[in-house]
């Protein structure tokens, strides 16, 4: 005899410990199993695209910090790349190298946070997260030294960077880069073979290669599904063509792969920073650009490989001092698109693991 059961609706969020900000998922549950989910967002919508239309090109840089606030440096870089493409500005070598160093440090920091919060969602009581915070703290120290802020750096400028690095920066960076592999090794010991982590992440939330492409996912999510796609290789911007690095890819596209990709990318980033430190030239850090920038009429799409995926800025100029239209290609939002398909049919606990592995930042989703 079939028992008569009823599904029920559970709201996870906007205030929920593992929704990484103000994200909300309306679950339809059948016991523990998720029947349907509707992601709801917009709680952090600040209308940055609209705000940008009212401000000059250089002022918009400030607001890019507030997109993905865990990776402000790369947001700065993406915006700078887009404006430079629009206005045809050549960036000095030293500035490019500094940008690369900052962006890779940012990638490490963002991935640390991503892995840390994933473990937190799986239920490790803050410990791996706090270990990773320690390393992130060192990176933030370095950023603080260079630009005077720990979260909203506003470091890069159109045509360069705002300030040159102080003399104590490179020794400190070297020390950090030398010690980081040891700590990553420690995380590997703590997590990589942990049986509980394995049963919680392997074969959970499998995103096939075709689906990952069709859903326009980017970054670690796409690569975990086995697609070798990285803007740093596919369309090298800045000076990335001069560095030697690999693109790690996953095989299955499950939560475990997404976690592995992040660890592997951190290792690659360390290599890039080492090379950049060796090659770092002396010279100018800022191209000569007019105080009030008026790019020619036209449009441009500048993109970089942010920590969470392809981050692009689509700019339309009508020749004035303000952008006519600024659109952000937010990797976090697009990586969320397959969430519904991944989550239907799994248990609540897995849903949180899947959500955590996608690694979003609400500032970028809602903009």
């Amino acid at each position: 005899m079939a028992l008569k059961t009823e599904t029920f609706l559970v709201n996870a969020g906007p205030q929920h410990p593992s929704t990484h900000g103000v994200f909300r998922m309306r679950f339809i549950l059948d016991g523990e199993v998720i029947q349907d989910v509707e992601p709801v967002f917009g709680y952090l919508h600040r209308g940055i695209e609209k705000l940008a239309e009212g401000l000059t090109y250089s002022q918009d840089m400030v607001f890019t910090d507030r997109l993905d606030y865990l990776a402000s440096m790369t947001n700065n870089q993406a915006y700078a790349v887009a404006v430079e493409k629009l206005a045809g500005i050549q960036v000095p070598e030293r500035a490019e190298y500094l940008r690369v160093i900052m962006a890779e440090l940012m990638r490490i920091s963002s991935h640390l946070m991503g892995v840390g919060f994933l473990t937190n969602d799986i239920g490790a009581f803050l410990t791996p997260l706090l270990y990773m915070y320690r390393e992130r703290e060192k990176i933030l120290d370095l950023f603080d030294m260079v630009c005077g802020q720990r979260l909203t750096y506003n470091y890069m400028r159109i045509g360069g960077v705002s300030q040159d690095i102080p003399e104590e920066f490179l020794p400190a960076l070297k020390k950090f880069i030398d010690t980081l592999p040891r700590f990553i090794q420690e995380y590997e010991q703590l997590l990589a073979t942990n049986e509980i982590l394995l049963v919680r992440t392997k074969n959970v939330g499998i995103l096939t290669k075709e689906a990952a492409i069709n859903y326009s996912t980017a970054g670690p999510v796409l690569r975990a599904s086995g697609v070798k796609w990285d803007i740093r290789k596919a369309e090298p911007y800045s000076v990335y063509s001069r560095f030697n690095f690999e693109i790690p890819t996953g095989s299955k596209g499950d939560v475990y792969d997404r976690y592995r990709i992040k660890i592997e990318e951190m290792k690659q980033s360390i290599g890039i920073i080492k090379q950049a430190m060796e090659q770092l030239p002396q010279g100018e850090i800022q191209a000569k650009i007019p105080k009030v920038l008026r790019p020619p009429k036209g449009e441009a799409y500048g993109r970089i490989e942010g920590p969470k995926g392809e981050l692009g800025f689509y700019l339309v100029s009508d020749g004035a001092t303000n952008p006519y239209r600024l659109h952000i290609r937010p990797p976090s939002l697009l990586n969320l698109t397959p969430l519904r398909e991944l989550v239907i049919g799994v248990k609540i606990a897995d849903a949180m693991a899947i959500f955590g592995s996608i690694d979003i930042c609400m500032g970028e989703v809602d903009r």
């Binding site: 069709n214 326009s216 692009g312 659109h327 290609r329 697009l334 698109t337």
Partner: protein
Amino acid sequence: MTVELQAAEIAAKLEAALPGCTIESSGNTIVIKDEFVLKAATFLKNTAGLDFNYLNFLTATDYQTYFEVIYDLVSLEHNHKLVLKVKLNNREKPELASVTGVWKGADFQEREIFDLFGINFTGHPNLKRIFLWEGFQGYPLRKDFKQ
């Protein structure tokens, strides 16, 4: 390095498959008529040699007299890209066929355009406001939006 495809060649291919669909083509950009958008999308995705399997982003711009919807297409296999544009002249009731059936990644982006520009995507499975709340008056990214 991503190859920016010559739009003129692809426009010719498109024209052969769907006569009368293109309006103009320059650089890497093809502008097509709005009623052809779904067919053109399917064609670009499924034609061998083009294989635009990845919708990089989808957005719109308000040019005061008309809306322009921009599809940035990339092929991950061949590493080439193309920009597809559609002009919508009907400002009162802009409508366009949804491409969610072709690229599922268009889902949230079409909702975003609907939310902020008021362009109605027919055939979208769940066309609701995405960032702003239900009942919000007006479409903020339109140039004539007043608070």
